[in-house]
């Protein structure tokens, strides 16, 4: 990303948006993506039938199932589409054609990420729209769920960035495993703080503290239970969560760009 070369490339934004548009089209055409979307919609609709098995709490279960479906299918999309985006271009050697154009590597990675993020947003919006319709049939407002869905998207933006980072220097299988591991560790990030309190003062505690900052604190972005019960969520909490998510995703993406810049491709 030298200054001289950057100056030689006219308009970084059109390059990124062109790659993002292509990534979006490619992902939307992907049959796996359609399958996930259809399955997610089916899950949300199935929630109505599940509600027949319960004693009261129908809408609570529908909301839980809907939000979890949005989160889980978003995660699967982020992982399985995210890890193959960069790899496919290298594997099919289309990366050479792309990079022969006036497109910098960091623009390529950022464009791929932006395309993936737009796919994830579309997924979440469509699924939330279906959930809204289901809730309306019960006379329930979906409004209290909006902050939770927003933070699911923030969480997915972090997961997508990690998937892109890992896929920029390893194969899709390892990248998928690493991304899922980061997701699970992110939801257990509270345990680092607990561990730091339990172990004696020293380098061990310091290391755990550092880890607790490095691991994505995804559990702090999880407002699903509060939203389902209609507990008012302070705007500040949502604001900080969005700030954290965006900051973390940008940092990981920058790292992905640096790694991809240094990568050597064999002809």
């Amino acid at each position: 990303m030298s200054t001289a070369r950057t100056a030689a490339v006219p308009g970084w934004l059109p390059a990124i948006s062109a790659i993002a548009r292509n990534t979006f089209r490619e992902a939307v055409r992907d049959r796996v993506l359609y399958l996930m979307l259809a399955f997610a919609l089916l899950m949300i609709l199935a929630s109505r039938f599940l509600a027949m098995l319960t004693v009261g709490s129908e809408t609570k279960i529908i909301k839980d199932l809907g939000l979890s479906a949005i989160s889980v299918f978003g995660l699967l999309t982020a992982v399985f589409v995210g890890v193959s985006l960069v790899f496919k271009e290298i594997d099919k050697r289309t990366i050479y054609t792309l990079l022969a154009n006036p497109v910098r590597r960091w623009q390529f990675v950022t464009g791929k990420y932006a395309g993936l993020l737009s796919v994830l947003t579309l997924n979440a919006v469509v699924m939330f729209a279906v959930l809204t319709v289901v809730l309306w049939t019960y006379g329930e407002s979906p409004a209290p769920l909006v902050p939770a869905v927003a933070l699911i998207l923030v969480e997915l933006s972090i997961v997508a960035a990690i998937a892109i980072l890992l896929s920029s220097y390893t194969n899709p299988m390892l990248a998928a495993l690493g991304t899922v591991a980061a997701y699970v560790a992110g939801h257990l990030s509270w345990s680092f703080e607990l561990l730091a309190r339990r172990i004696p003062e020293g380098s061990g505690r310091g290391l755990v503290r550092v880890l607790s900052w490095l691991v994505p604190n995804l559990d702090r972005l999880d407002l699903k239970a509060l939203a389902v019960h209609g507990v008012p969520i302070p705007a500040g909490q949502v604001g900080y969560a969005v700030l954290y998510g965006l900051g973390y995703a940008i940092a990981v993406l920058v790292l992905a760009c640096v790694v991809f810049e240094r990568r050597e491709f064999r002809a």
């Binding site: 098995l53 319960t54 709490s57 609570k60 839980d64 979890s68 989160s71 995804l218 699903k224």
Partner: protein, 280 residues
């Protein structure tokens, strides 16, 4: 392999699987609580759910409803308190319906009010703004023959924000059933005078005040007559004597306006009607 051979192998495979499954189902042991032995506690389920603890609570709740709806299980009440009072709350402490259902299963079907109240109490602690749980607990106490405890839970329910006015009426009625007409009279009086009370509540309160007033008056009169008899060895000639003797501040006027009947020969005192219909 020819098409016929392929179909034959497929059919044979399916037939074997069907026979095997039918055999497994026939050999299935009778329903018992064995499956509950493998139910992890809520903390472990929360860890495994990776950010979907509320959904995991729903899954346990739905499973528990099906499990406890099977009346063929002889030991079906063994782990109700653990499932509804520990596992589900550890996953979703705000799941009010789970506490209510668990408490009702324990109180109504298992006839274990103490266990039911432990489940209700945990729900009340975890959901301090909810009126449904103390209200439900109150009725379970009442049906178990403990109206005094029931009135305590209603006291708690009525103080919650958004509690319907019906609960305040239920509380006054419960205190009455617990055998404290004076306290009940005070509660009904407060309700009848509370500008926040709706018209139905005020009408019910007026009726109950009149009934209770009559009951309290008769209790006071009978106590005064008994005291007079103990002091003089005979019944008073008329009720006025009780006032003259300082046993009553005044002769109470019956709420129906007819006055209390007194029989000097027997010392019996009574009202014109056993119940009072509204104001006079």
């Amino acid at each position: 392999m020819s098409r016929i051979a392929t179909c034959a192998v497929l059919a044979a495979g399916l037939a074997c699987a069907a026979v095997g499954l039918a055999g497994l189902r026939a050999a299935e042991p009778s329903p018992g609580s064995a499956e509950l032995l493998y139910l992890p506690n809520g903390r472990h389920l929360r860890l495994a759910s990776s950010g979907h603890a509320s959904l995991a609570a729903d899954a346990v709740y739905l499973w528990a409803i099906q499990y406890y709806s099977n009346y063929e299980r002889s030991d079906r009440h063994q782990y109700v308190e653990h499932v509804f009072g520990t596992v589900i709350p550890e996953l979703d402490p705000r799941f009010v319906d789970a506490y209510a259902l668990g408490g009702m299963i324990l109180a109504i079907e298992a006839r274990d009010l103490d266990a039911a109240l432990r489940v209700f109490d945990r729900g009340i602690r975890e959901n301090p703004a909810d009126w449904l749980l103390p209200y439900t607990a109150a009725w379970e106490c009442y049906f178990a023959g403990r109206p005094a405890l029931a009135s305590r839970y209603l006291d708690e329910a009525v103080a919650k924000p958004g509690a319907p006015s019906l609960i305040a009426r239920n509380r006054a009625g419960m205190v009455e059933r617990a055998g404290d007409p004076r306290a009940a009279w005070r509660l009904w009086k407060e309700l009848s005078e509370d500008p926040a009370s709706d018209e139905t509540t005020r009408a019910v309160a007026r009726g109950r005040i009149a009934d209770l007033q009559q009951r309290i008056d008769l209790e006071d009169l009978r106590a005064a007559i008994a005291s007079y008899r103990a002091a003089h060895g005979r019944n008073p000639r008329a009720l006025d004597v009780l006032v003259a003797d300082g046993l009553l501040p005044a002769i109470p006027a019956a709420p129906d306006g007819t006055g209390y009947r007194y029989e000097p020969d027997t010392g019996e005192v009574g009202a014109g009607a056993t119940r009072v219909l509204g104001d006079r």
